[in-house]
Symmetry: C2
Subunit: 226 residues, 2 copies
DNA sequence: CTCAAATCATGACGGGGCGTCACGATCGCC
DNA sequence: GGCGATCGTGACGCCCCGTCATGATTTGAG
């Protein structure tokens, strides 16, 4: 199963053999070819890494496993990323980048704490559920997946949540609270509850979101009764 | 700095040279000698690992770094642990084992949700603060430290928290809630807030505990005002 | 006390992943 | 068309990993 070299690396110039029409290539190329293969390779490495992490698990995966799936040479990997860890970060960063617009919408339309929190948590839970089933990471439950590092996009998400809190608390003339603790705690709850949510069948994003929202809004006394 | 071979490995029999008193060695030995060096080596590896993880960071640390600090041979490491990960788990397990009695006390004396939660959270925050300063892990903030795996003692702690919740909720004739979500969420809050707490100077366990307790007890509306 | 069997530390060794680098092919540009 | 810059390539040296044959030490039985 090495048949993968095709669409990557130097998409050969063979196209120019049937060059009847002197110029005007049919589709591709706006930026130069170099630029195109660069983004293609970078993306290919990311895709391969996602597969490998899913198949072998993060710990067992090696840089060579990843690069092998792309058909590229081992040295090429290091033209794009410094290590397996950096690829993982890039993957996490990518996830955060895709989630951020959804969060942005919630922040913008936020008018009070409750609605903002519900919107943001629901958006997050649906996001992770979708991610989960898109590239189904069929890894044994309880396997070690590293905590995502503080990549730029992840920090941006954190700050956006914080900003959203600040905004609605301001709107409600609420007394000041420790925003750092609050943001950290809410994200922790969201992460942990969403993890448990994904382990249950069927996956109930609405129920899990309801739990998280009510816990944060009113604490234990407000929790949904079973 | 290799001067460490001393107290480990086959504490030589030289003691028997000055054998004036036929028997009755001064202190050590109840169990056989073999058993004693076994526990000594196991402990030495654990201690060395703690140092190495603290000095180099978990990722950078290698099995050889650890075993080197003990003066033992590389092969000996594998008589006790299968890998660096397993040592880490053993370290985490050890922490949980030492924390469990403190938690047990809180569970036993628990009479209502509020007091139990406050007791448990306070105990935990003080525990992590103490650990932190005992073997000061002067690692650059934000460095990757793996999530502790679900070792037996850690699972036991989780269950004990859950049991405590079940007990006090029962005592209060409170309506049933999703105990799994609740326990996971509370532990997540405790972990995350305690992390942030440790990054601030001075370390304010009381303030952090107050925040966490009030968030869980009453949600945002109940949070301490700044 | 003696000796054989069991235990276990030792460190050399093969295997393999890591990151680098000199080379050469391709591209962009004049 | 040709030159300089770029970048893919894969072999190479390095180091870490986990194993295993060996011998030293301990144990327990006679």
């Amino acid at each position: 199963m090495t048949g993968r070299h095709d669409r990557l690396v130097h998409e050969s110039r063979s196209m120019s053999n049937i060059a009847y029409f002197p110029k005007a290539p049919v589709v591709d190329d706006r930026p130069g070819k170099r630029e195109r293969t660069k983004v293609a390779n970078r993306q290919a490495i990311l895709d391969a890494a996602r597969e490998v992490f899913g198949d072998l698990g993060y710990d067992a995966a090696t840089v060579r496993d990843i690069i092998r799936r792309t058909g590229l040479a081992s040295g090429t990997f290091y033209n794009y990323y410094k290590s397996k860890e950096e690829v993982f970060d890039a993957l996490a960063d990518d996830g955060a980048r895709r989630f951020r617009p959804l969060l942005r919408v919630e922040v913008d339309k936020a008018v009070d704490f409750q609605s903002f929190l519900r919107g943001a948590i629901t958006a997050y839970f649906q996001f992770v559920a979708t991610e989960q089933e898109n590239w189904r990471l069929n890894r044994p439950a309880g396997e070690q997946i590293p905590h995502a590092r503080a990549t730029p996009e992840i920090v941006a998400v954190f700050n956006e949540v914080r900003e959203g809190f600040a905004k609605v608390l301001e709107l409600e003339h609420a007394p000041a609270v420790d925003l750092d603790y609050l943001t950290a705690a809410c994200i922790a709850v969201a992460r942990e509850v969403s993890d448990k949510m994904l382990e249950r069948r069927p996956v109930d994003t609405a129920g899990a979101a309801d739990f998280a929202v009510k816990l944060i809004l009113g604490g234990l006394p407000a929790l949904p009764k079973l």
